[in-house]
């Protein structure tokens, strides 16, 4: 990579032009902000789509422009946007880019040009994704799982022609972008750590992002392969996944394909994808809890091992999404056992967060509140996962609202809490100004209480048997009338919580524009990014001298120390 050379030399030439500084920048911090803003914008599209769905579910028949077809299209786009284009992009592309070089003490990523390319390719994938709204037939409505045959057979589901093709194209482009990013993050962590920054002195944020990047590198190929085969099935009449079928009275000339094969490929990507999202959030939350509780993280080594264990086991559990798919039923035994084993490292993390807080000195500012919110929603989300992982308990709950509640709390709300916490926490460093604490707290309270009010009742709906991905429940006699009331309630709360996110946007914009000037280290944190000579750090981060690391990142409240924190750069003697 000849271009790697240009920006990592010791004598640093900061680009001066507007374009090279803010648009086609190779500075990891600028790229991080580009990723973050793009992901948030597309995330708001996803949020808006969820509003439309909730309007239909809460007030069926009141909104004529929502019909069964576009309901499914909103649903599919909402899922895809949130999981891939918001959560994955912001956690790896946003936080990964910003934090890795600063936290391990280097000037930039190993391959800055590749890094810039990764962002622009991601932007192309986003454009392709949203373009699907404007093609004949609209975006695909086959669910974010894209299961064939319905996703690709003409007339079998909405958007089964151009919508699905565009989405697969977009995903393939995203995979390319993610792979470029992943190669960069992993190489940077392994190769460019500053003197003294051993692997076991890295902050848990870096550990989470690092392991998630490895997961992404190994999981994305499955999505790519499945996607390409699906695309060929759609465009050229191949039968990778399409058996002999008769759609709406028409016999199609396909033969021998197996829809379950796609499900295996999809979930071989899809399950690690869950951890790609949650591991960085876990890492970020660990650092937030420790910093704002002024206490070392409890069981650092156990935390690192459990991140690695979750990732490793995460590759052998994929078919727990397929317990009633018609696959060989004996697989159920293995995938149930492997799945619940993941509960152990996940539980270790939860215990260690609580033990980190125990006897701490909790400064309950906005980032800390979101981190605590993460712990709470992760507990309920993780515990309900035990219903679904235990194969026989999954049978009645599968594809009901119980599942919807579970994954929204554990990877939707939890991950987004980690993101909110992280954004507030590092905002002063990235922008050099403070956000409004009062608005931030209001944002937290509405979002935290609201999330529980939205998703907790869904567990009840699931027990009652309510199937997910239904446009309407009219005419199903066996469901008690309580369901309608619940749906109205959930919809109203969802509208309020969605609107509250504008507080967050306003807070960030106002803070960046008019906020109070931030100190270099407002949280009195130990990690390297708070020790930069200037705030926000310039291109190249460190001035003339790279920092040297002398200790682990969690020296908070050491007895006999003059302050309640000792930065990683402080040598052992002092």
């Amino acid at each position: 990579m000849p271009h790697a050379a240009s920006h990592t030399t010791e004598e640093h030439h900061e680009p001066t032009g507007f374009w090279s500084r803010y648009i086609f920048s190779q500075d990891h911090k600028v790229i991080a902000i580009q990723y973050t803003i793009t992901a948030l914008v597309v995330g708001f599209v996803g949020l808006f789509l969820s509003w439309l769905m909730r309007l239909q579910l809460g007030f069926p028949g009141e909104f004529n422009f929502i019909n069964p077809n576009n309901y499914l299209q909103f649903m599919t786009q909402h899922g895809m946007i949130m999981v891939v284009y918001l959560l994955t992009a912001i956690l790896l592309g946003g936080f990964g880019n910003y934090l890795i070089p600063l936290m391990i003490g280097t000037r930039d990523m190993a391959f800055p040009f590749l890094n810039m390319l990764s962002y622009w390719i991601y932007l192309v994938s986003v454009i392709l994704l949203l373009a699907a709204f404007f093609v004949p037939g609209g975006p695909t409505g086959a669910g974010w799982t894209l299961y064939p045959p319905q996703s690709v057979l003409p007339n079998a589901s909405p958007g089964a022609d151009w919508g699905i093709r565009l989405l697969i194209l977009s995903l393939a482009v995203f995979v390319a972008s993610g792979t470029m990013g992943g190669l960069n993050y992993v190489t940077t962590v392994l190769q460019l750590r500053t003197r003294g920054m051993t692997l076991m002195r890295m902050p848990l944020s870096v550990w989470g992002i690092f392991i998630a990047s490895i997961l992404a590198l190994l999981a994305f190929p499955a999505l790519f392969v499945g996607g390409v085969m699906l695309l060929l099935d759609s465009l050229f009449g191949t039968s990778f996944f399409i058996p002999v079928v008769n759609v709406l009275g028409q016999q199609l000339g396909r033969e021998g394909g197996n829809p379950i094969l796609f499900q295996h490929l999809f979930w071989y990507f899809g399950h690690p994808e869950v951890y790609i999202v949650i591991l960085p959030a876990m890492g970020i939350v660990s650092d937030l809890l420790s910093t704002h509780a002024r206490k070392p993280i409890f069981g650092y080594k156990a935390m690192v091992i459990s991140i690695a264990a979750i990732a490793a086991i995460g590759f052998i559990v994929w078919a727990h999404h397929m317990f009633v798919s018609g696959m060989n039923p004996y697989f159920g035994f293995w995938f149930a056992i492997a799945t619940v084993i993941i509960a152990i490292p996940s539980a270790v993390k939860t215990y260690n967060w609580l033990l980190t807080l125990w006897k701490g000195n909790l400064h309950l500012n906005t980032p800390m509140l979101f981190a605590l919110g993460f712990v709470s929603t992760f507990i309920i989300g993780g515990l309900t996962g035990l219903f679904l992982g235990n194969v026989i308990a999954d049978v009645p709950l599968h594809d009901t609202y119980f599942v919807t509640g579970h994954f929204h709390l554990v990877m939707g709300v939890s991950a987004i809490f980690g993101i909110f916490g992280g954004l507030y926490h590092w905002f002063p460093k990235a922008v050099g100004r403070m956000y409004s604490e009062a608005l931030g707290k209001l944002h937290f309270w509405v979002t935290f209480v609201g999330s529980y009010l939205i998703f907790f009742p869904m567990f009840g709906e699931g027990f009652l048997g309510l199937p997910r991905r239904y446009f309407s429940f009219k005419g199903i006699e066996s469901f008690s009338p309580i369901i309608h009331d619940l749906n109205v309630f959930i919809t109203i709360v969802a509208l309020a919580v969605g609107a509250a996110q504008l507080l967050f946007v306003f807070n960030l914009i106002w803070g960046a524009w008019k906020g109070r000037k931030a100190e270099a280290n407002p949280w009195r944190a130990t990690t390297l990014e708070w020790q930069t000579p200037t705030t926000p750090p310039p291109h190249g981060n460190w001035g003339a001298q790279l920092p040297v690391v002398h200790r682990w990142p969690y020296d908070y409240s050491l007895p006999d120390a003059p302050q309640d924190y000792i930065p990683q750069t402080t040598s052992q003697r002092s």
């Binding site: 149930a336 000195n361 909790l362 709470s376 515990l383 026989i392 009645p396 309580i482």
Partner: protein, 265 residues
Amino acid sequence: MQGILLAIVLVLLVIGAVVLTMSGALWLPTLASNWGAIDNMLVITLIVTGIAFVVLNLILAYIVFRYRARDGQKAAFFAENHRLERNLILVTALGIIVMLGPGLFVYSEFIHPPQNALVIEVLGQQWRWSFRYPGTDGKLGRTDPKLFAQNAVGIDITDPVAQDDVVVHGPLHLPLNRPIIIKLRSKDVLHSFYVPEFRAKMDAVPGMVTRLWFTPTKTGTFDLLCAELCGTAHFQMRSKVIVESPEEFERWLQAQPTVAQTIKK
């Protein structure tokens, strides 16, 4: 202030969850099949995870209340306790074994249908269900997806065994207290056979035959739903299940026309 508020919210969350669960308003619909064991598994899982939920959230509430930052308070310094960590792992593993162990036995039962069961075929297509019963010979005739071009259910009408089969598109009639094996086929896309009161659920996959089994234990009418997204009218892909006494069931079946009578060769 924030600490006290968060503690109160967390306690309210725990109380709310417990009250809601105890009230039973949001619990499974009344069981109408033999799968009481599945319900028991859900109850066991609910108890184990419920305890963890209550304990962990209350600890969190206590922490944010007790250790919220105040003047003169200093955090303690401790970063490890191997014994505690080991014990917590043991307790977690125990909880998991309690849930998973019995679950695997029930699952084993779930995938091994009894020998004497009545085999009924259910065919899903966009967006309705059809049902096929064996006639007097007790056997279902041969089917082939390629034959959907010839007749609506893809049945081989040259097969002698198929002649007395009965195909209905209306409600699924089932005899009480007799094990039923449902063989699932699909004509077009993925569907899923789902009767909430029976608990059992299985996808119908085009190109293959999947199956599930249960024994209806209550007479009455139930909704048959589709639980796998199958296109625009997925939410309307419904039928009824009528569970009746074996005599009534036989009488009903006898009155239906056979394949030989309804499908032209």
